[in-house]
């Protein structure tokens, strides 16, 4: 008998009689989504910057991060630096990226989590390998809780997706919080009123 058959038989013998699924009905508390999101992102170690249009993002980045180095942008209409990541590249070529700017599909106010999937990412490794990460989020895409967020994802439509809720971090050395573990060293979130379109 294969392990599969053996396991399924053993589990079938052991599992208790049917217990029904509960009705999950989260409470809806009205909150200011942008304010809650901004506060929570701050707690997570990220920074939220409000912008009205795409050009402000480039201005902010050059003013605060200095001369563009190896910067890449996957945001439609926002050209930055000198390279654009190619789907044909192995992820390893992204190891030298200083700054990556990507669009988030939507974000969750209660915990600051921003959703990205293969639609926003030419390469899945990009937001993890870059030294600094900036995500562009439209205020109109904010939802209150994770329950609301999962309602936006059609089951079965996804190849890969990730909630990113801040810069990479660790407290594994004597519980001292260190921002910048293996992934991005910081997270900058550009919050704009509606999805930005190129001018």
């Amino acid at each position: 008998m294969s392990s599969r058959a053996q396991m399924l038989a053993a589990i079938g013998r052991s599992q208790p009689p049917l217990i029904p699924l509960p009705l999950v009905a989260p409470r809806v508390a009205p909150v200011d989504l942008a304010e809650t999101f901004t506060r929570q992102m701050g707690r997570n170690g990220g920074t939220v910057v409000r912008v009205q249009q795409l050009t402000e993002i480039r201005t902010y980045l050059t003013q605060n991060l200095g001369k563009p180095g190896n910067w890449v942008s996957t945001v439609h209409g926002l050209a930055l630096g000198n390279s654009s990541p190619d789907k044909q590249d192995r992820g390893h070529t992204l190891a030298g990226v200083d700054l990556a700017v990507c669009a988030g599909a939507f974000a969750v106010a209660e915990n600051g989590a921003i959703w990205l999937d293969d639609t926003q990412l030419p390469h899945r490794a990009l937001p993890f390998l870059c030294q600094h990460l900036a995500l562009v989020v439209a205020e109109s895409t904010l939802v209150a809780t994770l329950h609301d967020a999962y309602r936006l994802l059609e089951p079965g439509s996804l190849d890969y997706g990730v909630f990113i809720a801040g810069p990479s971090k660790t407290a594994d050395i004597e519980q001292s919080l260190v921002i910048g573990a293996h992934g991005s060293r910081n997270l900058l979130v550009f919050l704009c009123p509606t999805p930005l379109h190129p001018l």
């Binding site: 992820g91 329950h147 909630f163 293996h182």
Partner: protein, 466 residues
């Protein structure tokens, strides 16, 4: 393998360093307090716990069906699904996949946190095959370099101080001796591990939740190490215990709201990754992706009505952080991959004889049960195991002799009255009879002031008077 020290003996060694024990105790309590602040800030916290508990109850009652659904959807997504009845088979499957990959060139394996692979002793097995695995979670890398097991499922190096880490990194990573700055040490590990990620051919991950409805495997990290491994390596191997399956995608809303808040007091982990279909490689092929479903005793535990609740566990570690025994005895004293209260329920299922001491490593205060996000009645299950172990004759000798004596004394009222009288006399007239090292109740305690008579004697006297 040599038999490890039992919990009480190992705990005795742990508390010998008073300052360190206090630090361990207070630090974990601080994590517990962070969890409390999070719990109190969500109005539907108690509802979430109840829903999570019921979803898990339901899933366990339909486990074989959900595993089949998960298998079907994962296969449709292009994932190869393997079934492993025990740890040995799990390790052999991983070994075989690595050998197949190695046939095409040198192999370098990176692994993000997975308590299941710790339970199966995968690294030891692969080392015997000549394959070195690099653990990429910072805490796990620290303990791996020290050749120690993790002491906590969420905070693997919580038993260490920064001076210990500094010494370890100076020896293995060439950091400046004596530099104990966590920022500096983390940066050194970042540089060291980036090299490993970029050179990896195989990435192993655990699974926090597997969604039957979609085949999605959800992995949560703060460091980003699971994603760095998977997205850069040629092959992804995900290892999960069969109890990690959940029915639907929308259930993730319930579990992800609970997990990080219960674990470290964060609203959510930095990264919550959903691996569904393997990534497309430049040559147009999909990255080979494997899912290993591991039983290793879980179907046996599922068949124990009083203990199967333990399979609801989502490995948040909240029961560790609140446990007065864990906080003052350290994870290594539990000699099991999963320590703490929940580990003390899971371990005897893996090896009843070797782990017979663990259900006794508890005061049964119930704090674990009160913080558990999926409402496992942990302290009841520990008590249940004690009864099983007593019946099986596996309880520690000190306990069986004591229990036998007590049952004789409590079973005979004359003997009970006499022994009470003798004990009170002894405490008053010859305290050294009980206040010595032979009496385990005297260790670390003052013996009580003995009254001159028992309540029964007093009652008898006063009742006849009125």
């Amino acid at each position: 393998m040599t038999k490890p020290l039992d919990h009480a003996t190992a705990a005795n060694q742990f508390v010998a360093d008073n300052a360190r024990t206090n630090w361990h105790d207070q630090t974990l309590w601080m994590v517990r307090e962070k969890r409390d602040r999070m719990a109190h800030s969500l109005p539907d916290w108690e509802d979430l716990r109840e829903w999570a508990s019921q979803i898990k109850n339901h899933t366990l009652s339909q486990l074989s069906q959900y595993l089949l659904q998960l298998e079907q959807n994962a296969q449709a997504n292009g994932v190869q699904v393997h079934w492993a009845a025990n740890a040995q088979e799990h390790n052999e499957i991983v070994g075989r996949i690595i050998r197949e990959t190695a046939a095409q060139g040198a192999v370098q394996v990176v692994k993000s946190k997975s308590m299941l692979t710790e339970e199966c002793h995968l690294n030891d097995y692969l080392a015997q095959q000549g394959v070195r695995v690099v653990d990429t979670d910072l805490g796990e890398r620290i303990v791996q370099l020290r050749q120690e097991p993790p002491s906590h499922i969420v905070l693997p190096a919580i038993h260490l101080k920064k001076a210990d880490v500094s010494e370890t990194f100076a020896r293995h990573l060439g950091t400046e001796p004596g530099n104990t700055d966590p920022q500096y040490l983390t940066e050194a590990a970042r540089q060291h591990l980036r090299e490993k990620f970029l050179g990896a051919t195989v990435a192993i991950t655990g699974v926090n939740f597997a969604v039957a409805e979609t085949g999605a495997l959800v992995v949560c990290t703060n460091e980003g190490n699971a994603d760095l491994g998977v997205h850069l390596a040629d092959v992804h191997i995900a290892c999960m215990g069969i109890e990690k399956v959940i029915p639907r995608q929308d259930h993730l809303g319930v579990f992800l709201r609970l997990l990080a808040r219960s674990a470290t007091g964060q609203a959510i982990t930095t990264y919550s990754s959903h691996f569904v279909r393997p990534r497309q490689r430049p040559d147009g092929q999909r990255q080979p992706m494997h899912l290993i479903l591991v039983d290793n005793g879980r179907s046996t535990q599922l068949g124990r009505p009083a203990l199967h609740n333990s399979l609801k566990c989502i490995r948040c570690g909240a029961c560790f952080n609140t446990c007065p025994v864990y906080r003052r005895s350290g994870g290594h004293s539990y000699h099991n991959a999963v320590a703490g209260p929940i580990g003390s329920i899971l371990a005897p299922n893996l090896d009843m004889k070797k782990n017979a001491d663990l259900p006794f490593a508890s005061t049964l205060c119930g704090s674990c049960t009160n913080v558990c996000p999926v409402k496992i009645d942990i302290h009841n299950q520990l008590w249940e195991w004690r009864q099983v172990l007593m019946r099986e004759g596996l309880a520690p000798v000190s306990k069986t002799i004591g229990m036998r004596l007590m049952s004789i004394v409590f079973g005979h009222s004359g003997l009970y009255a006499l022994s009470g009288k003798l004990a009170r006399k002894a405490l008053r007239l010859a305290p050294w009879l009980v206040q010595n090292r032979l009496n385990p109740w005297f260790t670390g305690r003052e013996m009580p002031q003995a009254p001159s008579e028992s309540f029964q004697e007093w009652y008898g006297r006063n009742r006849t008077k009125s």
